[in-house]
């Protein structure tokens, strides 16, 4: 209910209150010859109660006031004056006013209590989220750290017993673990940038084809994958977007695709332009996502129920955050012939300068 009140602007709330009172007065006027005019007061009281449930405190108090005056003016004899003849009518009028006010104030108090409860619940959720973060972090950060400490211990203390191959492999493990740590820290930094709410896209002209080729090269270097093919529209214009964010978005999607599909899977990235809309599609022919979990995959820290160890559940939430920071949206669906398909749409300023002939 409190949410509804927020959605309706305060001026509109006053207008609705006046309309409700007018309507009730009109309906009551039809019946006033057949019923006691005191009964009409209850109709108006009902309006105040409804307003108290729907609207903020001030419009509700306003409703209490105008409904009392309306009752007096239209129904208390002599009708169509604010004058009150009988003493009991005056008492009834004052009582009406007091009851309407109490009604308004009590309902408001209940709402405040509700709000406090929601805040408490939110705090509870934050703590839950924090615990999830700590659990996944301690795993994701501790594993590479354990690998580094273990490998260096071996190299320092048992160097003479190690074969040349052992030594090479230990150094290789240190290198891999450091890379993994760096990647996780990068994800966490990006997440905290998103969380801080101060993230503003830094838009500049961007050659999307170049960006895609560079990002694919990065993913290939970091994963050793050779399965990514690129389909870029040769007539793609320049787009004015935040290049760093889009780079991270594409990197995360491709990295995920490489890590979560089999060795010889095919991953395809394509870029299209529809008027001022940039569309980027990342598809693979892997297993796809469990259909009942698709709606959760962009949630922070969400990890598929049967996913392997590794991953903080941050990658896709960063994708969503960075795309939405640029007023775009990202969707995921399973293809009918198997595999997942991520679709990114971002509206941006374009320039076809790049397809003019040389100056």
């Amino acid at each position: 209910m409190a949410i509804l009140a927020k959605q309706i602007t305060s001026i509109k709330q006053y207008v609705y209150c006046v309309l409700m009172v007018c309507f009730t007065v009109a309906v009551s006027t039809i019946f006033v010859n057949n019923i006691d005019y005191h009964i009409t007061a209850f109709f108006l009281l009902l309006v105040v109660s409804v307003a108290a449930v729907l609207f903020d405190i001030l419009p509700v108090l306003f409703t209490a006031l105008i409904s009392a005056l309306a009752w007096n003016f239209f129904f208390i004899p002599p009708r169509f004056t604010f004058h009150i003849d009988k003493a009991e009518d005056l008492i009834f009028f004052l009582m009406y006013f007091v009851i309407a006010l109490i009604n308004a104030i009590l309902t408001n108090k209940i709402r405040q209590a509700e709000k406090e409860f929601l805040i408490k619940e939110e705090k509870g959720n934050t703590i839950k989220l924090y615990n999830t973060l700590l659990n996944s972090l301690s795993h994701e950060l501790r594993t590479p750290i354990a690998a580094i400490i273990g490998a260096t211990d071996n190299l320092q203390n048992y160097n003479s017993r190690l074969t040349e191959l052992n030594r090479y492999e230990l150094v290789e493990e240190i290198s891999k673990a450091s890379f993994r740590l760096n990647q996780q820290v990068e994800n966490l930094l990006n997440m905290s940038r998103l969380e801080s709410g101060i993230l503003k896209p830094k838009k500049d002209w961007c050659d999307i084809t170049e960006l895609i080729y560079d990002t694919v090269k990065n993913v290939e270097e970091n994963t050793g994958s050779k399965n990514i093919s690129i389909q870029a529209d040769p007539f793609l214009p320049l787009f004015k977007i935040d290049k760093t964010m889009l780079e991270q978005v594409i990197y995360n999607l491709l990295y995920n695709a490489v890590v979560h599909t089999h060795m010889d899977a095919r991953i395809e990235i394509s870029a299209l332009c529809h008027a001022d809309m940039l569309e980027i599609i990342v598809e693979d022919n892997g297993q796809g996502f469990p259909p009942d979990e698709i709606k959760y995959v962009f949630d922070k820290f969400y990890r598929l129920k049967n996913s392997r160890a590794g991953g903080t559940g941050l990658g896709l939430s960063i994708v969503k955050g960075f795309v939405e920071a640029q007023k775009g949206h990202v969707t995921l669906r399973n293809k009918t012939d198997g595999g997942a398909s991520f679709n990114i749409n971002i509206l941006a300023e374009t320039s076809y300068l790049n397809h003019l002939k040389n100056e």
Binding site: W205, E210, D214, L353
Partner: protein, 227 residues
Amino acid sequence: MNSAIILIIDDEVQMRKLLQITLESNGYRFLSAATAKEGLVAAATHPPDAILLDLGLPDESGHDVLIKLREWYSNPVIILSVQNSEEDIIKALDAGANDYLVKPFRTGELLARLRSVIKVKSNDESIPVINCGNFEIDFAARLVKKHNEIIKLTATEYALLSLLIKNEGRVLTHQYLLKEIWGPGYINQSQYLRVFIAQLRKKIEHDANRPVHIITESGVGYRFVIV
């Protein structure tokens, strides 16, 4: 054997240790300083051939150290920066840093940067022809040839390419390139630069989508590399 002296200004012991080992094992000599104050004193007492300057120093910002150094020190300065700080990097490059490295960086990268800044310093300006691998540029004749065939370049393309090649190995910021080639009024017209870089790549690179000469330094600028 080069015996250039490199001054390391970084507050992290581990970073200094790593840099020292890297430099020593590649024939450089080194001095090191843990604070801005120590660094400035060391630079003044034994002017080094190049300085590796960390931007995040405890006593004073690396940017301020750079400005103070540039009042009298003309040898190369390479900035060491942390991730996600393109603005910092551009600011430092504009203030006279010759190049930058983002932590964590690969040892190979560090050595390549050092080689190129020290080489640029001693570069003879009057070399008329530079062979860049799959093509060559003749500054005297203002010609670019690929497999002995002349590549047709517009005046702007030639100006951009020769500026990049003259600064081979060094990163040039978007703003610097726009100002030098198109003039100060074009500093925010980055779309021109994107377009001309793409055109140049089509003409000189073997595969314009996988460039090996004109390398994009994301968010900062471009770097020309001779392969």
